[in-house]
């Protein structure tokens, strides 16, 4: 069950961080530095899935001799991010109340 909870939260975190573009490894480092380490085997396939849902856009660039795929939250992704953010804040508030009153 904690896996399910984390899965939704990771999508929200990824969409929020990709409002500025990142390639896979730099995004992982950023999430990790902010306290949300995401396993490599989860993050890269997730980026691919979000892109196939048109929530992210991506393009390949060669930087320092290495091809890298840069991702950015798309227009649809930003709309979803807004909706998820509102939902998240409401949920956090409600659940905090519930957990404190248990």
């Amino acid at each position: 069950m904690t896996l399910e909870l984390r899965r939704g939260a990771i999508i929200l975190a990824v969409l929020s961080q990709l409002t500025k573009e990142h390639y896979g490894y730099s995004l992982r480092e950023r999430l990790s530095a902010r306290g949300l380490p995401v396993p490599e085997g989860t993050l890269y396939p997730l980026l691919r899935r979000l892109e196939s849902l048109e929530l992210l856009t991506s393009d390949w660039r060669v930087v320092a001799g290495r091809p890298r795929r840069y991702y950015r939250t798309s227009h649809a992704g930003k709309q979803l991010l807004k909706a998820m953010e509102t939902e998240w804040r409401v949920l956090v508030e409600v659940l905090n109340g519930l957990l404190e009153a248990k």
């Binding site: 904690t2 896996l3 390639y23 896979g24 490894y25 480092e29 396993p39 490599e40 085997g41 989860t42 890269y44 396939p45 997730l46 691919r48 899935r49 196939s52 390949w60 290495r66 091809p67 890298r68 795929r69």
Partner: protein, 345 residues
């Protein structure tokens, strides 16, 4: 770096072709970024001391190739998962080749006796049914793999701890080597074991199940293809089937081809040739005796007509198929002997 390329290749091999190029490129770039970051953090000395250990640790974090490939395939409800996907593709290709081969053999056999009225029937039958036969066979292959998928996936427990445990207990050194002639495909071997057992059961318990519904003289009944000539020679086939099961179990235990298993494999091929040769050169393979046909519901006239017109044709066809199989086995033996000599020298 060899381990990394082996890992990328193994993951890619389990993905649909359209995803492969992109995933390979991104995976390689991400792994190299992670290695560079580790080298920068650890300092050149530490990196140089145990580069392989770090690669192993990194690959464990990415997880076993089947697990990573599964994550790349959107949705979870696929019929054939990444673990079975390579074996599934191989089986599908073999099935299509075998069906097309049989159809071509039928037309050729018919063409040899073009004055035979059966030629037109055979040609029409095989051509009109080719598409539906391929679709039906593909359906069966998907069904079998789906069942294997259900059985194997239901035994797994999907919890974070279990996933982490799988990743950590997985040893990247077991990744298949690129272009390794001694490499084995574990899933393929297991599927082959299942097929051999199914064939033993089919030939021993349900020999009449292999056949076709035939119409003649306004009658329509089931005719078993494996007649007494075939059934009499099946003893050696069983030895071949059991030998193949034993060989595959040995390969699964050793995880690669060795000289003794290669020799054993050649011996099994000789057994299959010895089993099939009498069927090509000897008595009736199909041969349903008229009395048997009458016992199975045919009228005497229809049984006579089948024995006179249909069976000699089917017999010739089946012998042709067996002869082709023998040529295939001999050819494959020649290539395997060459491989074996290269291994020894």
């Amino acid at each position: 770096m060899d381990l990394i390329e082996r890992y990328i290749q193994d993951v890619s091999h389990r993905l649909p072709r359209r995803l492969r190029g992109d995933v390979e490129k991104e995976l390689r770039s991400s792994l190299e970024d992670a290695l560079d970051a580790h080298a920068a953090n650890a300092g050149d000395g530490a990196e140089a001391a145990a580069p392989d250990e770090h690669v192993v640790e990194l690959l464990r974090k990415f997880g076993p190739p089947a697990q990573l490939a599964a994550s790349y395939r959107s949705g979870t409800g696929f019929l054939v998962g990444p673990e079975l996907y390579p074996a599934f593709l191989k089986t599908m290709k073999i099935v299509i080749i075998v069906i097309v081969g049989i159809v071509v053999a039928s037309v050729v056999a018919g063409a040899i006796g073009e004055d035979n009225p059966l030629f037109e029937i055979a040609k029409g039958l095989v051509l009109s049914n080719l598409f539906s036969e391929i679709v039906e066979a593909m359906g069966w292959v998907v069904l079998v793999f789906w069942i294997v998928q259900l059985v194997t996936s239901s035994s797994r427990v999907d919890t974070p701890n279990a996933t982490r445990a799988t990743s950590m207990s997985w040893d990247p050194h077991t990744l298949p080597r690129r272009d390794d002639p001694n490499r084995i495909g574990r899933t393929g071997l297991m599927v082959e074991i299942a097929i051999m057992i199914a064939l033993i059961v089919l030939f021993a318990v349900f020999p009449r199940a292999v056949g076709a519904t035939v119409s003649t003289n306004g009658e329509r009944h089931w005719v078993a293809l494996m007649g007494p000539g075939f059934l009499a020679g099946r003893g050696l086939l069983y030895v071949g089937f059991v030998g193949t099961v034993v060989l595959n179990v040995m390969l699964l235990r050793h995880n690669r081809w060795t000289i003794p298993t290669r020799v054993f494999d050649l011996a099994i091929s000789v057994i299959f040739i010895a089993a099939l040769l009498p069927m090509v050169t000897g008595g009736n393979v199909v041969a349903n005796a008229p009395a048997d046909l009458v016992a199975n519901g045919w009228s005497e006239e229809a049984a006579d007509s089948l024995s006179r017109d249909m069976f000699p044709f089917l017999d010739k066809l089946l012998r042709g198929v067996f002869a082709c199989v023998i040529v295939g086995i001999v050819w494959s033996m020649v290539t395997r002997v060459v491989t074996l000599i290269r291994r020894v020298t």
